[in-house]
Amino acid sequence: MKKTIKLFVLFALISIPTWILMDNIILRKLIILSLEKATKKEVHLEKLNINYFPNIKIKLNNLKIPNPYQDNYLIVAENLFIDLETSALLQKSLIINNITSNKAILMDSREQPIKIIDESSNQRSKKSNISSTLKKYLETSLNIHNDSEIKSTIESTFDFNNEINDLETIISSSTSLINEKKDNVLKQTTNTLYRINNINIDTIQNIDQLNETQKTMGSITQDYESITKEIKDIENIYQQSDLKIKEINDNLNNKIDESFSFQVINNHAAPSANELSQPVKNSLSHLLTKFRQGQSKKKATKFSGITYNFRKNNLPQFLIRKIEINTFNDDHYFKGLNLTTSKHNKVDLKLYLKLFNQNKFDKLIVNLSSPDNHDYEVNIRARNIHLNQTKLYETEDILVNFLNNKTTDLDISGTLSASSNIITTAIIKKPNYRVISKKTTPHFLTSFIPYLNNEDISLEITLNGKIDDLSVNVTTNLDPLINNIQNRLFDKKMVEIKKQKQREINRIKEEKLGETNKKSTEFSKEYTKTINQLKFQEKEIFNQKGLIERRINQKKVQIENAVMGDLNRVIKKINLNGLSN
């Protein structure tokens, strides 16, 4: 036992002076390590001095604490004084009476802190989600001028199969009817011509033979009339078919014209009801869901039981009674009173931050107060936020850039509590855009985007309710603004589209009507060939019939003359016989 006591005494004798000598080195290292763990960036602390009596007082020289979310330092202080309450440490409480600094720069971006670990992919995914949502909104809002979509939609409405099928049916049925009739007519004409050719007028010697031949001619004339009638029928069939074909072509023509009518183009090209409020809502909901998931992940660590709080002295685990960086007249000023993480301590919490003439904004004032550590009144005002040039929209034809803007204001006010009620208002004053056309052909956005120049953009987000069931309301003037410009440009756009569409009409007409015209032309050609052939045959019959009829008449005259001559001779003979007698 004596040995143990000796060991203890020896340990105390060695450790106490060692601590007194090395405390600044050990504490400096501890502070650097804990801050680096929290910020994931390199922390700079040149020197640290500690005084233990009457209270623990720490003086930090040349301290640089990096901002975990941005490439700047939260604070760069030449010196920082910390006054701790020693008695509270025995109660396992960290009570800081005072933190002061007279020479400090807040949010210093003159130097960039060095990263220790890459930023979490979680944050990157959040950022990418917001930017992708905005990009998607802009693309859908501006893409209404993309004529290729309209063209494809209209073209997809074309279906000429019925008309072409009708046309084919008419042509085939008419052709078969005509061919049938043609065969009949050709048979009849051949037969008739054969019969005509068989008539030999020279062999007619008497009246009986003549009468017989005239009878034959009568029959041939009947055949001829029948052939003529058949040919007329063929002509009628063709004319009816031609009328039907013309009707189909007219229908086709009308259908194409109607497809490109003003109303149809109007319906397809009218401004769509895109709203920024919905994507913003979705983004916020996404962020809240991620936040809740993160919270539940944190909770789901190794089981560590329940810690009861039996303290009656209301001493919180952590409290900064007062923190003051610089003086109120400085550009960088921060003051906090009763800052604590404990919910059980009813203290009047106040926090005030003032930053003027920063790289990213001209003025930022943050005011946070809470009388009971449950409801926090928040008031944030940022003036002249500097927005860098950003690519808003890009296609293979065009690039739209949002130009550098230094007149953006942001206001956040409301109560942050179990049932929050926060109103966030952002106004981008007089924004300007630049449109870069990548091709020589003019793009419609070249005339659209300039209308947005100098048009203030406002966005108001209202958050209400519990964090688990937060209702988000977003109102923005960007939706009506874009719709307004779209409507103003609509007529102009219609002319542009119509011009393009006229070319389309001609092309489609040429393509579709050409197909039907080709079929009807072939049909007409075939008909003309048939009708000519038949007409020729008819004419031949007519000519030969006429010739035969003329010759029959001549023969008839000859026979009549011969008969008359014979008769005269007989009469003369009779008379002579009478005279002689």
Binding site: M1, F303, G305, Y308, N309, F310
Partner: protein, 168 residues
């Protein structure tokens, strides 16, 4: 691999040597307490001081503690139930409130159910555990060890000198 083998050999050597059974049992009991109590600097430092003060076997303590530390988190829920019964007892609240105001006592983290449960287990269970270890080691030395000495396995654990030579 050779190191683990040598460590096991060393552990068995202590079990089989003339090292007092009380010392080994004491070291094992402290190792169990050390593993079962969630890390509390004051308590763990005290346990180490106790080990050194009462001439415990440091090697056995350091060998067995990490092994027990792998197992003990799995019984934290049962320990929590024990701690919760006490801490949620309303009749004891006034005592706890007084305890909470005592400086330095909060560093023992006694108001946590798992920690308090483990303290109670250690206070109540240490003595039976100590005697259990003591009895087990005695039985081992009396009955198991003579049989082991005759078996081939025992010879396997006899490390050739050249292995220790390489370790040097």
């Amino acid at each position: 691999m050779i190191s683990i083998f040598l460590l096991i050999k060393k552990f068995l050597a202590f079990l089989n040597s003339n090292e007092s059974v009380e010392n080994i049992s004491f070291s094992l009991t402290l190792a169990l307490s050390f593993a079962i109590i969630p890390f509390t600097p004051l308590i763990h430092l005290t346990l180490l001081i106790l080990l050194v003060s009462f001439n415990g076997n440091l090697f056995i303590f350091l060998f067995i503690t990490p092994l027990l530390k792998l197992v003990t988190p799995h019984i934290y829920y049962e320990i929590h139930l024990l701690g919760n019964v006490i801490l949620s007892n309303e009749s004891l609240t006034s005592i706890f409130e007084k305890l909470a105001d005592i400086p330095l006592l909060n560093f023992l983290n006694w108001n946590n159910t798992v920690t308090l449960g483990s303290y109670i287990y250690c206070i109540i269970g240490s003595i039976p555990v100590y005697y259990f270890y003591k009895m087990s080691i005695n039985k081992y030395r009396q009955k198991v060890l003579p049989k082991l000495k005759q078996s081939k396995i025992f010879h396997v654990f006899k490390v050739p000198n050249w292995i220790t030579f390489f370790r040097k």
